[in-house]
């Protein structure tokens, strides 16, 4: 019997209705009258001085304007950088120097996209190639050509944290192991590219913006770059975003069209085509080299961890280097490790800029941690699951503070594992693996135990940039009951499929004890909105759910106060039930919802003296456990809530072809109280699909000339329905003490553990051959070559 009325029940996601009939409103569907279209001119060189000659393009039919980087730079501020790197400015169009192949060097505006592309071919750019660097380790060397000459080197960030007695713990341990693993450059690549429409109204001095956006403080950053007050930028949040999973930051696109709209007095739109997106959009993600070292005892219990993460950021840096900082909040994963040394290095190279990706760096970090745990077990000849059990934080240790200062709120990792193994015995899976091996295939059982830090926080900002003292990370909800008694609630950001309207309806319905589907949820624009920080950091269930909950409680309290006053009873005798309030002493004395609405809206003479008329309330909420700056040695509470996932993957490899097949996939998932089961399951399955892609198929590859060789979907290969096997999900719930329903985040679930689990399975399959694989993606042909090489040697 659930303790909730609506929370956790299997309700439909109301947003689905408009999408199944094709009535979603995506950025490319917004077309104000007179809209003109942008096409981009991109650099073919990874590094070159540029001179742009737009005369021939300007003469082409339908062309309204051709914009170059110099003009745009003179009229706008550089885009906000996260780190303190003033000599690494970032702008939508290259200014005098192009720094990666695919960088935008000019923008053509025409009356159709086709004519803009025709004219883009006639923009003449003189390129004077410069030396370039592509590899992160090379970029680290002082002799490498700096991507930004004024910065002096390619190092954007190089910070080492030491938490606890790392050297002492290493000295005291009988064993140590070092491992290098590489996370290949991949991302979550939504099917909708980024698109933005901007329309400047000179009479109201107002820039209307519709964008396929998932970016905290987007209106503010846009206004700042355009040198406008925030009140002159109106971002419409009621644009449906066709998938984002972290990536759609869109700031350079928006500044570009915002400027053009003001300059031309026309609505201007940029809908990236796939080539623009893959080469120069927000499409790329972390590309990271990990060096991990652990100190452990004979039982495989790990005492200390050293990790160096070297990230190839690309030619500029926005928010993405912070993806090295967020994992600090779960740097030991779900394990009891006493001391940690963490060195985070971000370098520039002449590659496409890296943007945020689902989980903001946690998935690569989990991959590195899990590979290490497997190798510890292998070194000692112990079972990999048993070694995990010995290291996992136990239920009775929560709340548990890890060396970097973050406290994990709750969890019962062993129970999740037990539940999964109750579904299928571990021995059964080993036997199934061995049967596949007997059949002539390579086969392995992959294991991963990983955390999903959730709730969001921007503590990585002050952590990696002490000049940034941001500790506020908020979200909000407003509820109004109108004269008819209908309830309308607000949310103040765009969504990309997470079911936020359903979330808000459910939370409010739960508190007010009314049918959630009766609650309309709307999205005011940025000028009408209360503060929000976007659906990042797996935060919305916690923050938007929380804000809606608190706003609903304010409304409920107001209704109780009105009723108590009108009934002439003390408030503690007023019982709220399903929209009405009665006197506990004589329940037949009751004011129903319509009565209360009428008093609030029309009958001032019946209102309590200190209560505002009408029925509108709002709540602005700070992230739980947030609000403090890091200590001098970099300890900070990163995120408030920690979901857990445990993956078991049985995988077979055709030894000749290298083709992998997932024979069985089980995952145990604990995200606390599940608000909507359909939404959570969808997130986990989608995350696993992303993880399969990252582990086996997807990579943004460059050749030695700095050219992106994976420019289309023919080469950047994403899992289809054939590549994602059925997955058995087993649920467990350890509620969070920090949230209104005990919910934790689940927006990144599956993606956080799937790459680690698949890599673990491949390595287990290859172990009899004495090979290990320490990179992603593990591509079929490469795997086959590796196996053939070993067989040839023996």
């Amino acid at each position: 019997m659930s303790r909730f009325r609506f929370v956790s029940s299997d309700r439909r996601v109301r947003e689905d209705r408009r999408f199944v009939v094709g009535k979603g409103r995506f950025a490319a569907d917004v077309m104000p009258s007179g809209t003109h279209h942008v096409a981009l001119v991109t650099s073919p060189h990874p590094a070159a001085r540029i001179v742009v000659d737009k005369r021939a393009a300007l003469a082409m039919p339908g062309v309204a304007y051709v914009l170059d980087g110099r003009e745009l730079a003179a009229a706008t501020q550089p885009l906000a950088a996260g780190l303190d790197t003033p000599q690494v400015p970032r702008r939508p169009l290259a200014v005098d120097v192009a720094r990666y192949a695919g960088e935008w060097v000019a923008a053509v505006v025409a009356d159709t996209r086709a004519r803009a592309e025709d004219a883009a071919e006639h923009v003449q750019v003189i390129y004077d190639p410069l030396p370039f660097v592509l590899d992160a380790e090379e970029a680290l060397a002082p002799t490498s050509p700096p991507v930004h000459a004024e910065h002096g080197s390619n190092v954007l960030l190089d910070r080492t944290f030491v938490w606890g007695d790392v050297e002492g713990d290493f000295a005291a341990s009988p064993h140590r192991l070092a491992l290098r693993v590489k996370w290949g450059r991949s991302s979550t690549v939504p099917i909708e590219t980024f698109g933005v429409v901007a329309s400047w109204d000179p009479w109201r001095e107002l820039l209307d913006v519709w964008a396929s956006i998932q970016m905290p403080k987007f209106p503010d950053q846009l206004a700042a770059a355009l040198r406008l007050p925030g009140s002159s930028v109106r971002v419409h949040n009621d644009v449906d975003v066709g998938g984002s999973y972290g990536v759609k930051r869109g700031i350079k696109h928006a500044v570009l069209v915002g400027y053009l709209s003001r300059r031309l007095g026309l609505p201007v739109r940029l809908i990236e085509d796939r080539l623009e997106n893959m080469q120069g959009g927000d499409a790329h993600g972390p590309e990271r080299l990990f060096d991990v070292e652990v100190a452990f005892d004979d039982a495989g219990v790990i005492r200390s961890l050293k990790m160096q993460a070297l990230d190839n950021v690309g030619a500029y840096a926005g928010r993405s280097p912070f993806q090295l900082g967020k994992p600090v909040g779960a740097i030991v994963g779900p394990y009891r490790i006493a001391s940690v040394q963490y060195r985070a290095i971000a370098v520039t190279t002449n590659k496409t800029v890296q943007e945020a990706v689902r989980a903001f760096g946690q998935s690569p970090t989990n991959y590195a941690i899990e590979r290490t745990i497997d190798e510890v077990a292998n070194r000692l000849g112990l079972d990999r699951l048993e070694v995990r059990r010995r290291n996992l934080i136990r239920r009775d240790e929560f709340p548990y503070t890890i060396p970097s200062g973050t406290t994990y709120d709750s969890g019962d990792y062993h129970a999740v594992i037990d539940k999964v193994l109750a579904r299928t015995g571990y021995g059964e899976l080993i036997e199934a693996r061995d049967r596949l091996r007997a059949d002539g295939r390579l086969a392995g059982l992959g294991i991963a135990a990983c955390l999903e830090p959730s709730g969001g926080n921007s503590a990585f900002e002050p952590l990696l940039n002490p000049k940034n003292t941001t500790t506020t990370w908020m979200d909000s909800c407003r509820i109004s009951v109108d004269l008819s008694g209908a309830i309308t609630a607000t949310m103040h950001t765009s969504s990309s499929g997470q079911g936020h309207e359903t979330l808000v309806g459910t939370a409010i319905g739960e508190v007010l004890e009314v049918d959630p589907d009766r609650i309309r949820v709307v999205r005011p624009d940025s000028l009408e909105s209360l503060p929000s920080n976007s659906p990042v950091g797996s935060r919305m269930a916690i923050m938007l759910g929380g804000a809606a909950f608190h706003a609903a409680h304010k409304l409920k309290a107001k209704l109780i106060a009105i009723a108590a006053h009108d009934l002439g009873i003390p408030p503690d005798r007023a019982i709220y039930r399903e929209g009405g309030v009665c006197d506990a002493a004589t329940p037949e004395r009751r004011l129903g919802w319509p009565d209360l609405v009428t008093i609030a809206h029309r009958q001032f003479h019946r209102l309590p003296p200190d209560v505002e008329p009408g029925l509108s309330v709002s709540h602005v909420m700070q992230v739980p456990t947030g609000g403090t700056l890091p200590t001098a040695d970099g300890r900070v509470q990163m995120y408030p809530c920690f979901s857990f996932e445990f993956h078991l993957v049985l995988l077979a490899i055709d030894p000749e072809l290298g083709r992998t097949e997932i024979a069985r996939y089980l995952v145990g998932h604990d995200c606390g109280t599940v608000i909507n089961p359909k939404i959570v399951r969808g997130m986990t399955m989608g995350g696993i699909a992303h993880g399969i892609g990252a582990a086996l198929y997807e990579e943004f590859a460059h050749d030695e000339h700095g050219q992106l060789v994976t420019q289309t979907f023919m080469d950047y290969v994403m899992p289809s329905s054939h590549e994602v096997p059925p997955v058995e999900i087993v649920h467990h719930a350890t509620p969070s003490p920090h949230t209104v329903f005990g919910q934790k985040g689940s927006g990144e679930s599956g993606y956080l553990g799937a790459p680690a689990a698949i890599a673990s399975a491949v390595n287990d399959a290859l172990r009899p051959l004495g090979i290990s694989v320490n990179r992603t993606p593990i591509k079929m042909a490469w795997l086959s070559d590796l196996i053939a090489e070993v067989k040839a040697r023996s």
């Binding site: 086709a114 994976t710 289809s720 054939h722 591509k779 079929m780 042909a781 490469w782 086959s784 053939a788």
Partner: protein, 292 residues
């Protein structure tokens, strides 16, 4: 990704199509468009004029033609996939078609379009070479035929004159106890293949291999036959060992190349593995089947 500007013609018949092609250097034939349109979207292909032959009824057919099955160049792949004549007489083609692109591309794509496009990874090219098909074409001056072995000259290049239009492809039908096999490997099912192999085998009543064709595709610029393997096995009773040896001895002659997706060594290894699997499948099928 909008194509560069172009004109469009829809000729009523082949003669008109050829005349239009002859009149304009930059004109190109379009039928299904499944390979041409993406190239145009990326502005890699920039025809000045598209000559749409997709509705010329005379070019869409599947029919018995003596001891062969003739298929019109503009016949949709999905029609061939479902055609009873193909299922009965060209089992290899029927087996391969589900692997060509996706159902949505087979709904529009034509056999002639795929052959003329000559993508190294195209399955239909492989089948044409394996079965020694004959391609017919016309241009303003002539109607001619060319053997598949001579048609494909390089990656995305054929012997088809620039002003010509493919009209039909003719697949010889083998008699006797036939078996077929087809395997391909790709990053994902229905992607461009990294390696593909097709085999067709005919057995005499006593189990002797009377006729054999093994082709490998996607690993070289044009599909190739493993003729050495064929010669080694024709006239013998193939065994698991002899089939393995024949393929192994023959595959080294196939000159593969490395690219982003796979090394040359991989292509050779995969081609050999797939060729053997296709051959074994064909042999097993021939043993169990009734004569054609």
């Amino acid at each position: 990704m909008k194509p560069a500007p172009f004109e469009y013609s829809r000729p009523a018949d082949v003669a008109e199509a050829c005349a239009t092609l002859a009149a304009d250097d930059g004109a190109r034939v379009i039928a299904g468009g499944q390979t041409l349109v993406p190239l145009m979207a990326m502005r890699v292909a920039r025809p000045t004029r598209l000559v749409d032959i997709g509705r010329i009824a005379d070019l869409a057919f599947v029919r018995q033609d003596d001891s062969a099955v003739a298929i019109g160049a503009v016949t949709r792949q999905c029609v061939i996939e479902r055609h009873p004549l193909v299922a009965a007489r060209l089992r290899l083609l029927a087996k391969v078609l589900p692997w060509v692109g996706h159902a949505a591309t087979r709904a529009r794509g034509t056999i002639g379009g795929s052959l003329a496009n000559a993508d190294p990874a195209a399955e239909l090219s492989l089948v044409a070479v394996t079965l020694d098909a004959t391609l017919s074409f016309r241009d303003a001056a002539q109607a001619a035929e060319i053997a598949a072995a001579d048609f494909f000259t390089g990656a995305m290049t054929t012997a088809l004159p620039a002003t010509a239009c493919l009209t039909a492809v003719r697949f010889p039908v083998w008699g006797g106890r036939i078996g077929t096999g087809f395997h391909e490997v790709n990053a994902r099912r229905s992607d461009f293949a990294f390696a593909a192999a097709a085999a067709q085998l005919a057995l005499d009543p006593d189990g002797t291999c009377r006729r054999l064709a093994i082709g490998v595709g996607a690993v070289t610029e044009i599909p190739v036959r493993l003729r050495r393997a064929e010669q080694a096995l024709i006239g013998t009773h193939p065994s698991a060992a002899s089939m393995r040896a024949a393929v192994h001895d023959s595959i080294g002659e196939v000159e593969t190349a490395s690219d982003l997706h796979a090394s040359a060594a991989y292509r050779t290894r995969a081609a050999g593995a797939l060729a053997l699997r296709a051959l074994i499948d064909a042999h097993e099928e021939a043993i169990t089947c009734a004569p054609n």
